[in-house]
């Protein structure tokens, strides 16, 4: 469980990145944190594993104040997969890459080897196990970065911009991975501005702007609120946007439609 209470954060150069942020994320939730670049999303999630400590306020992970533990101890609970896989691949082979974190966390040799096998299998990377990470394609590198975090089985997984620059097929793969994590009972936090992606995969959305949370709620509530999306400088997803416009013009009676089939049903009544 993540508990953030009235957190402020200021970088060494004086930039204020968080301006009083409070939130709770419960076990097993799937949450998207959205907002434009510079809204404070990444700064916020870096507080979850103690990479950053609040200038003011507290962050607690499973009841532990992040100020009292090292990044390594917290990372065992909160695994963060950063945006660019090329910033987080350190080893000579794919296998070694996954082993790297397992060794840092002092797992025993037999656990290490079984976890490596498991992670490679889930991410469909088995055939590359002895290859250099840098010979993989962009999408495969991304999956390897996820595998290296997944292998040590953190309770909470944070994905920073998992779909940025990915093609449609890769996005589908990432979507399957998220589903899998959901079934494993993980708490998942996705930092993104890919609103069409979020629409189908998360339950709750937190909107940020200027280092503050400006909205936090169920996805239906947030994604059909065009005004609030605009405040977060997001482009509304197409179907909710269209539904909102049709509602305004009096064509349909509901304004909280998210999916194509829902809208089709409403339209069939009229057309």
């Amino acid at each position: 469980m993540i508990e953030v209470v009235d957190v402020y954060y200021e970088y060494a150069d004086g930039t204020r990145a968080l301006n009083g942020v409070s939130l709770r994320i419960g076990k097993g939730e799937i949450v998207a944190i959205m907002g434009e670049n510079g809204a404070g999303k990444t700064t916020l999630v870096k507080h979850f594993n103690g990479l950053l400590k609040p200038t003011k306020g507290t962050v607690k992970i499973n009841g532990i104040d992040t100020r009292e533990k090292s990044v390594a101890e917290l990372s065992k609970i909160v695994g963060i997969v950063f945006q660019n896989p090329d910033h987080q691949l350190f080893a000579d082979t794919v296998e070694e890459e996954i082993k790297f974190s397992l060794k840092n966390f002092n797992f025993s040799e037999d656990v290490i080897s079984s976890r490596i096998k498991w992670a490679l299998k889930i991410m469909e990377l088995e055939k590359y196990s002895r290859k250099s990470p840098y010979t993989l394609s962009v999408g495969e590198r991304k999956r390897l970065a996820i595998a290296s975090v997944l292998a040590y089985d953190p309770e909470i997984i944070v994905l920073d911009e998992p779909t940025a620059g990915q093609d449609w097929i890769q996005k589908e793969k990432i979507s399957e991975i998220i589903n899998l994590l959901k079934h494993m009972g993980k708490t998942i936090v996705i930092v993104t501005h890919d609103i069409e992606f979020v629409l189908e995969r998360v339950n709750r959305i937190i909107l940020m702007a200027n280092g503050k949370i400006i909205a936090d709620g169920k996805k239906r509530e947030i994604l059909s609120n065009i005004r609030i999306l605009e405040r977060a400088r997001l482009i509304p997803p197409q179907i909710p946007h269209l539904s909102y416009l049709l509602y305004e013009k009096g064509v349909i009676d509901r304004r909280d439609i998210l999916f194509l089939d829902e809208l089709l049903r409403e339209l069939e009544a009229r057309l």
């Binding site: 060494a12 594993n49 990044v71 390594a72 950063f82 350190f90």
Partner: protein, 249 residues
Amino acid sequence: MSFLEAFSYRRKNTFIHLLDPRTKFSILVSITLLSLGFFSSLIQLLLLSFIIFLLIIAKCFREWLRTMRSMIFLLILIFILNYLTVIHNRFEYSLSMTLRFATLTSAFSLFFLTTTPDELALALESSGIPRDYSLMFTLALRFVPTMARDINIVMDALRSRGLELDKGKFKERIKNYGYLLVPLIIYEIRRSLMVAEALEARAYGAVKNVKLYRPLKMTMKDKIISVITLFLSLTITIISVLCQINLPF
């Protein structure tokens, strides 16, 4: 990183900022020459106060002060080391060496705080150095902050994967930092390729004799200041060497 702060350019509209980079360079050279040429701690102190005076005009005093504060430990170390190794005139000697170090650092800090990498490159180009080299210089400086940011990102990733960078014995720590190098080197090689592509796309190397958008021009003000500084510092140096003056202090 606070140490580097004193050497990265701040845009301000002051008398010093607007001087030609070559003028500022002549001031830098003169101060360096005088500081190295004279031993007396009083002279070092005079030079230092002169630089501080210029820093105040350039509105960069605060940036300089912050760096000096982070260097206090180093300055004390210089003092102690000198004090322990020298036999005669220990105090005066150590003080002077320490002040000399502060003076030289401050002089360079003044120069870099008030001169953009572009201006520097332009100064190089205007003094006949080929465009390839001046561009190399521009790029090297340009990508320092970008690389610093990359280092931070990679360090965050390493720490998030459970590596405790500063834990363990010296040898282990060195090994830990080795992990940092793998993604960084690969990343920077890729970046250099991307930069090279972008340069090609901007027709770099199309024409041998390029005309510059804003060629540097020494104004009368610049000429006067450079001539005076260089003349003064040379005169002082020559006189002191010729006459072997033993100044009373």
